[in-house]
Symmetry: C2
Subunit: 423 residues, 2 copies
């Protein structure tokens, strides 16, 4: 079979599996999940051996040590993976929930009920954990899944998917519920993206090139997990200590993630006081600043060392690093305009004690999550209390922001009548 | 400006308009809608003159009289259009609704609130009423809209859009909230579909070629309003009189719509009795039958005149006409398999007095609307009590089945804290 035939074959099999899977009750799905967790542990040796192959290649390719660490599996990390699977098994099942039910004047009873989406394609790069996370969340919600991970973790991905399939099979999960495309060339992405007959939704998680490959070919809905240019506006009425805490947390607690802050806008009236308070803390974390003219002058006066002039490009750059763009604005209006123009509509924040202004900011900023006096780092399924997340959608439709189990379902209408016809 | 620049310019202007539009309150939007209704009436002469141009061309092209009738506007039809707009103004506004609100253990308050989608592209064919319907529903929900209607009604569409724009402007609707692409070549469709920077959602309503042009080019979410192969299964435990009523209604009350039935599956045990009861009624409406071998034999015995043997193609054909495919099945399982294989997952029905089987059918059939003992013709926003509908989605994500005002919105999360940071 060539790649095209193989992807089509995966599609057919996944579609078939999704029909059986959709009919499993919660207990059956949870049994399968627990069996999958057990099998990950039972297969630890083979998974670690596969991982070692990936790591050898990574070392040969001189990958950065942080990257190698992300790819590394250990017995402890596998135990955590299994524990994660058991936690998902323990979560409530959204499938079957009656979202709304009503009776029309003619007597037909209409119910809107949550059902699985069907077949979900997940295309990702890097960490092998995603293989388990994605497969498990799809199984929980009754969806078949076709996984396509990156080349850097391919042996680990195959070994993990094998273990999940074996475990699931032992507990009666339909065969082909979890399929992994072992070909890591971009062609597989294109073929999946074009197969709207068998894939109902594609979720790409990765860099710009990967997402572009999916978006430009996809015939089915795509929910992108793309970048975050998150912006914090510190208003003239801000509590400066609070503003510093929020900025430090949003920028430095974990700079490599999409909900980390990339830009701070400071109101002209408080900019000097804010910078004075903030500069030593940023310095202690080694944060480089890219400042507009006014901020640059202020920060130079304070003797800030890692300081550069911001270029137009900086305002829309996701650094994912200890770099922060800083700009002084004359008004909340200017801040809102800046955020709408340069931000990525992911997570944006106002720090102020002015409630009226805060409510206006919450209303006018069109981002997936808009904050008043809290760190943008909370944009996360776990922090939202969703129990589990497949990722953070940077799209507007179906799922926006953190995607939990509910966002992996859709609905259908059931109509119960006693012979009604339309007049 | 060439077409490409013009579409881009429309995109930019619509995006700008959508930001202002999203901030209007319900009263402001409803005022604008009523002013739009008034302006449709005030502009009746110019709209009817434009419509006459379209009709002249339709007659020159020898269009079928039913088609010409669909395109024809009259003072009475314009009065209905205006009345429809006023009815939408009177509906509740979904925007701003708090869908859920909760507080996390760390004290952050999370609210999920309904907001407009942004800019919606609507690509349609045929009836000029769609221009008004689509523009009005988008305005009500705070969305800017870029309309692209078909060539057959282009003069009418331009005149109606002009009236809506003028009316809206009088009541303070942001300029460029409603834009109409007057170029009717397919190229405009492609350019719109590729413009994901400015269009958040595209809704194509029309034939297969139109929908394919959108799907193959679209970079943004698409909600298709495609075809319906709706199937009715008459179980051995059916009330035969009810089954006949439902079949006649679903097939003949308005055969040219997507929720009309195209296939009847009859359980072997009741097929002879059903056909005997049904044949004279179908004959009286001139319905042609395409029957499988068993049904063909039964129906020939009954002397049914307009009878043909069904081919494989018939099972997945949307006739939109007085034609019905008929098949005898041995079991509910065979019916369910047939529906999942050949149906379009739009609206499917079981007629039975067996509640257990009915509930199984409702659970197992993966269609937007699944019926027990009622006509498939109820798949309609009005019949669902939605007050208004933009159409019927044949997609699974964001909106499935009838799309009302709520389905023209999305949500964002608002987080109110007092300095929380992530640990």
């Amino acid at each position: 079979m060539n790649l095209s035939e193989q992807i089509l074959d995966f599609g057919r099999h996944a579609r078939q599996a999704s029909r059986s899977l959709a009919q499993l009750n919660s207990a059956q799905k949870n049994d399968a999940l627990r069996a999958m967790a057990d099998e990950v542990i039972a297969s630890a040796d083979s998974i670690l051996a596969a991982n070692e192959q990936d790591l050898t290649r990574a070392r040969e390719n001189n990958l950065a040590s942080a990257m190698i660490d992300r790819q590394t599996l250990t017995n402890e990390r596998l135990a955590k993976m299994a524990e994660g699977i058991r936690q998902v098994a323990a979560l409530p099942d959204p499938v079957g929930e009656v979202l709304r039910t009503w009776t029309q004047p003619n007597g037909i009873k209409i119910s809107k009920v949550r059902v699985p989406i069907g077949v979900i394609g997940i295309i990702y790069e890097s960490r092998p954990n995603v293989t388990s996370d994605a497969a498990v969340l799809c199984t929980k919600t009754g969806n078949a899944v076709i996984l396509r991970g990156g080349s850097e973790s391919i042996h680990s991905n195959v070994a993990i998917a094998d273990a999940l399939q074996r475990g699931g099979a032992k507990a009666g999960l339909p065969p082909d519920s979890i399929l992994l495309v072992a070909q890591t060339d971009r062609e597989a992405v294109r073929l999946m993206a074009e197969m709207d007959r068998y894939i109902d939704l594609i979720i790409p998680r990765g860099g710009h090139a990967l997402i572009e490959a999916v978006v430009s070919h996809a015939r089915m809905p795509v929910i992108k997990h793309a970048h975050g240019v998150c912006i914090i506006y510190v208003d003239e009425k801000a509590d400066l200590e609070m503003a510093c805490e929020i900025i430090m947390n949003a920028k430095t607690q974990r700079p490599g993630v999409c909900n980390a802050a990339e830009t701070v806008l400071a109101h002209r009236a408080i900019a000097p006081a804010l910078f004075e308070k903030l500069a030593p803390r940023l310095t202690s974390k080694g944060v480089e600043l890219r400042a507009d003219e006014t901020a640059f002058a202020e920060l130079r006066t304070l003797g800030y060392e890692k300081l550069q002039s911001a270029t137009e490009e900086d305002w829309s750059t996701e650094y994912l690093d200890f770099i922060l763009a800083v700009k002084v604005v004359d008004s909340p209006n200017e801040a809102i305009e800046h955020i709408e123009r340069y931000g990525s509509h992911h997570s944006d924040c106002i720090v102020t004690r002015n409630e009226e202004l805060a409510e206006r900011f919450l209303r006018e900023i069109d981002s997936a999550t808009v904050y008043w006096n809290a760190s943008t780092r909370f944009t996360d399924g776990g922090e939202f209390g969703f129990g589990a997340e497949i990722g953070i959608s940077t799209d507007k439709l179906h799922a926006r922001g953190p995607m939990g189990l509910e966002e992996l379902t859709t609905y259908k209408y059931l109509i119960r009548g006693d012979g009604q016809v339309r007049s």
